[in-house]
């Protein structure tokens, strides 16, 4: 219910002007700020709303939100003092930022999962053992610190740390305690049992949307899969084309990511439900579906948490997807800004911030 799709709209304005109610001269704001200028694709200018119930505690009077794609240009403008907060940072300059702008970068765990989907509608990935082999051979510990450089945490389970309404120990697969070499040996055996070898490798196509980081990870993982008799063809395309292919089940292994809309495990669990539009791998397990339905109807939070643990375990033991890392939020915050508190959803409402001039 805290999701923006269920916010109330002002009926009297909508009745009067229809879809134009969002235009600046019509829109009704009951929050801490109201927009006064909006150039689409460029920026929004908001000013403090005097009618806000807590207006006396809102310190900042004017806010400009800019939309920019070029991260290096944004960093230049931040350094020139034109921006106070950057909500993303160019990862290839992360080391530089840490050394030259000490204390200003904030890289913290964030509710999101980066994973590979495996298309289970046709061979060979409908074979659970092959999926298991692929997952075991991925050395997740190096992806965050070494491949990306920003220290993302490895993901062995489906639910990110810090998620609400979920207590108890996080999911750990039984093979997590094995050393990486042992895992590779186990994976190799699974592949050989399925009939693959150096003379007869499994040819897989790995699709990802065009992006430097996705490429680095894909190349690293392709190298990790080579010793277990897998030959990878890398294929990248624009984001829209990529997701179109995933939706059409036109892929073997595809890169995907999911940022939680709201802070509850159901938002992740529904991704693996039969028939869900975002279940690109078409994973289907009636036991899993039944548990997810059950947790939705369970009011007692403790009992619900137990059910969700069970569901996650089933999906992960089935190797429904290949989670790789949990996202981190990246912000660069000027020392002039106060009240910026890191949190798992990366929400930083201006109304709680203040500035020293």
């Amino acid at each position: 219910m805290t999701h923006y799709t269920s916010y109330p709209v002002p009926k009297h304005v909508v009745d009067k002007v229809g879809n134009d109610w969002v235009k600046l001269n019509n829109i009704v704001a009951n929050g801490a700020y109201k927009p006064t200028e909006w150039v689409p694709g460029s920026y929004i200018h908001s000013v403090k709303n005097p009618d806000y119930y807590d207006a006396k505690d809102v310190k900042i009077d004017d806010v400009y939100y800019y939309v920019l794609e070029d991260q290096t240009a944004s960093l230049n403008r931040y350094r020139a003092g034109e921006f106070d907060i950057m909500t993303d940072l160019p990862t290839d300059q992360y080391q530089w930022i840490q050394s030259n702008l000490p204390g200003q970068s904030h890289v913290k765990p964030f509710l999101g999962v980066y994973y590979y989907v495996m298309n289970q509608t046709k061979p060979p990935l409908n074979n659970k053992n092959i999926r298991e082999a692929l997952s075991l051979a991925v050395n997740r510990e190096v992806i965050g610190p070494d491949v990306l450089g920003t220290g993302e945490l490895p993901a062995y389970g489906w639910l990110p740390p810090g998620i609400a309404n979920f207590d108890g120990t996080p999911y750990h697969p039984s093979w997590e305690e094995l050393s990486y070499d042992d895992r590779v040996a186990k994976a190799k055996k699974l592949m050989e049992d399925a009939g693959y070898s150096d003379a007869n490798p499994l040819k897989l196509q790995l699709k990802y949307n065009t992006n430097d980081n996705h490429k680095r990870i894909a190349v690293a993982i392709a190298a990790m899969w080579k010793p277990i008799h897998v030959e990878v063809e890398l294929f990248n395309s624009e984001t829209r084309v990529h997701y179109d292919a995933l939706e059409q089940a036109d892929f073997q292994v595809g890169r995907a990511g999911w940022l939680l809309d709201y802070n509850d495990p159901d938002n992740m669990l529904q991704l693996l439900e039969t028939g869900n539009g975002n279940n690109y791998g078409r994973y289907s397990n009636p036991q899993y579906d039944a548990l997810v339905k059950e947790e939705r109807n369970t009011l007692d939070l403790k009992a619900r948490s137990v059910i969700m643990h069970k569901a996650e375990a089933i999906a992960m033991d089935d190797f429904a997807t290949l989670p790789i890392y949990f996202y981190v939020s990246k912000n660069v915050v000027s020392p002039k800004v106060h009240g910026f508190v890191d949190n798992a959803q990366d929400i930083h409402r201006t109304r709680y911030l203040s500035m020293t001039p």
């Binding site: 694709g41 240009a73 230049n76 020139a80």
Partner: protein
């Protein structure tokens, strides 16, 4: 001349029509649509969305609906910026891009001509080398690098100019983008000017004028400049097209609210309406300016007369 102008305008219309049709169908051929993203919309919602934008109709019907809208001056809704129509978006971005583009164009042409003339007059002496090197930097250094370097030096280190962004009526925000945009254009103009001027200065009629005792400056302005401008003017048409494409990069680096950004975003987001709108716009600008350049050409060279 008037008849010629009218004929040119009329013959441009089929070109526009063909370009619109080709763009329309090519966009639809590209894989991926405006609503394919990281989140799949629930099927019931997708049906509604597609119906709203007529995407569920056969492609020819969509085409005719679009043409009908065009004739009435309506470019349709934008699918990426879904609270705005394409017309509204273009009205936001167009004045800015035109301002940026025309200032850069005029500045570059003026600087290029002056640099070229001076380089030709002092041919093979030090002013020639210095001027040629200065303008050539615009061609050697690609515009995205030039933009980033200027932004760093003048915006971050020296803090003499704002590093980007735009405030209405501000000149200081325009200085760096205009310089980055104009530099390569000035380089090409000055090269053409220098070459043409050297050639003209060696012609018989110029030597005749000098031998009659006319001062060097008068010879330059009255006899040499006009014919030497001919190759320059012929280049201005395509030169403007290069300039407009350069503005896409400059607007990106300096975060300027021009059309370039909409063009790129729309193409990547498969926002059919916005891509077609910006394509048509660029086409019109180029066609009109090419026509203006051709008319200017006739004025400069009395041997050229249009029938």
């Amino acid at each position: 001349m008037l008849a010629y102008t009218l004929r040119r305008i009329l013959s441009a219309l089929p070109v526009v029509f063909i370009a619109v049709t080709v763009s329309f169908f090519i966009m639809r051929l590209a894989p991926g649509g405006p609503f394919d993203g990281e989140r799949a919309l629930p099927p019931e919602v997708m049906v509604n969305v597609r119906a709203h934008y007529h995407l569920d109709q056969p492609i020819l019907t969509q085409y005719l609906i679009y043409l009908d809208g065009l004739i009435h001056g309506d470019f349709g809704p934008s699918m990426a910026f879904y609270d705005h129509t394409v017309t509204q978006l273009m009205l936001i971005g167009l004045p800015f891009t035109l301002t940026l583009g025309s200032i850069a164009f005029l500045l570059a042409t003026a600087v290029g001509i002056v640099a070229g003339v001076l380089a030709a007059l002092y041919q093979n002496k030090w002013p020639d080398y210095v001027l040629v090197l200065a303008v050539m930097l615009g061609v050697i250094v690609p515009n995205f690098l030039m933009g980033a370097l200027l932004q760093l030096f003048f915006g971050v280190y020296l803090k003499w100019l704002p590093a980007g962004g735009w405030e209405t009526g501000s000149i200081s925000h325009l200085i760096m983008p205009v310089v980055v945009l104009a530099w390569p254009h000035a380089a090409r103009i000055s090269r053409l000017m220098r070459g043409a001027m050297i050639e003209v200065l060696g012609t018989n009629y110029v030597r005749t004028a000098r031998s009659k005792g006319i001062g060097a400056q008068l010879v330059l302005v009255r006899h040499a400049l006009k014919p030497a401008l001919i190759p320059v003017v012929s280049y201005l048409g395509p030169g403007l097209s290069y300039l407009l494409t350069g503005s896409l990069v400059v607007e990106q680096i300096f975060g300027l609210p021009g059309i370039g950004k909409y063009f790129i975003t729309a193409a990547l987001d498969r926002d059919y309406g916005l891509v077609l709108g910006t394509t048509i716009l660029y086409m019109f600008i180029i066609l009109i300016l090419n026509l203006a350049v051709d008319l200017l050409y006739a004025w400069l060279d009395p041997r050229v007369r249009y029938r």
